[in-house]
Symmetry: C2
Subunit: 252 residues, 2 copies
């Protein structure tokens, strides 16, 4: 059944927010993601500085892209979740500017460069949907930069979980007020530019103020509104679907 396929195709689900996909496009996406690879937790798929030229579509599990700095620390750039594409930029730059590693056991699809070009050529609308999704990811990096640069540890942490919450809802991986989040406090710290110890203290604060709890790999957001106000977070609005006419790449 097609419905069953769609249920598991997080990428298609995400792109559907941007534009209604045709049957043809949908089945191409399915085929694109047919060669799945199991990856163990903690496996580094690309290493910074490497000349890898493949992208990955995450199917299940959690991962992170990060950079190591000379003095031993690391900065996590983003947490790809199912349906996200990683490494498109590295393909253009011919060399990866960051590492990419799984955080749980995961399933990924490796996509070689020619395939990406094929999408852009043969399925222009799909291509622009993917570019839209990529732009969204980049906008999140910018938001991340703003967080670390100008927000307190408390705001940063709250902001982080709220954003994660919205992203997971977009692909149907969060329901109600809670979601699974198999990240350790040390990992969260590496993302927020804080020490693991301080993340722990902030989490305690959030717990004691009954705003958010993070325990046993489950995040519960008890008062989304109040938390968003404290964090200066703007809820991700669902933009209207682009009409097929309008977004066609070649209008001329």
């Amino acid at each position: 059944m097609n419905n069953v396929l769609q249920e598991n195709d997080f990428l298609a689900k995400k792109l559907s927010v941007y534009v209604q996909l045709t049957e043809h496009e949908r089945s191409f996406l399915t085929e694109l993601q047919s060669r799945r690879v199991q990856v163990a937790r903690g496996k580094e798929l690309t290493h910074q500085g490497e000349l890898g030229q493949a992208a990955y579509i995450l199917q299940s599990g959690w991962a992170c892209s990060f950079r190591l700095v000379p003095n031993g620390g690391r900065q996590i750039i983003a947490f790809p979740i199912p349906g996200d594409i990683v490494g498109l930029r590295s393909m253009l730059l011919r060399t990866s500017d960051h590492s990419f590693s799984t955080l749980t056991d995961a399933v990924v699809c490796r996509v070689e460069e020619p395939r990406v070009k094929q999408v852009l050529n043969e399925f222009p609308l799909l291509g622009s949907a993917i570019m839209w999704a990529t732009s969204r990811d980049e906008a999140m990096v910018v938001e991340h930069l703003v967080s670390i640069g100008r927000r307190s540890a408390f705001e940063r942490t709250a902001h982080f979980f709220l954003e994660l919450y919205d992203r997971l809802r977009l692909v149907g991986l969060a329901s109600g007020i809670q979601f699974a989040c198999p990240l350790g406090q040390a990992v969260v710290a590496d993302a927020l530019g804080l020490s693991a110890i301080h993340v722990n203290r902030v989490l305690r604060q959030l717990r004691e103020r009954r705003l958010l709890t993070f325990h046993e790999g489950v995040v519960s957001i008890h008062r989304p509104g109040e938390l968003a106000a404290l964090a200066g977070y703007e809820i991700l609005e669902d933009r209207p679907i682009v009409s097929r006419e309008r977004s066609r790449v070649a209008p001329a």
Copy 2:
């Protein structure tokens, strides 16, 4: 003379690092940037949240893209310099995620959405060169994120000026060990996630250690090697030019 044109066309100069441009492509670029607009210092060209759908190519002068945070601060994301394109992502997202403002008197070219699509359709190689440049900008945002998240104020500041130095050299706006940098300390602070006062102290340190001076709008890097080592900065290597065959978008 064509040479004269090229001298002033910073965009063409930058893209030439990626791929050798044909006469046809070069003249298209010239035509694309023919409608120049004078902009006064401090003018805000796009405002965050706005539904603008145009990009800008900076011709001369300095600018910055930034985000304002609720508590009054602002975080500068990047400093576009001549030859840089701003706002491509906003076109895809339909709404700008950040503001864009001039820092000096400047000249820009406004590029509407249809024109961008025209480039991608009619000049695929040029299009991929532009995407390469855009990817490079995004990689710099990532580097910026890493700086703020995991580097000390001293490293951050040094890193910032070194990166600026390399970028300006790429378009021929820096020669020898110094370059013009018409930024106030407060502006630098907004970029680095520091207070203006602390930037001042770090600059004093850099001066006293005879590594770098920033005075009267001129940055002098006295010992690039030592500074790069202290900042954990990797010199931007000039990647080899992509052969025309290889980078053609439509191989099929």
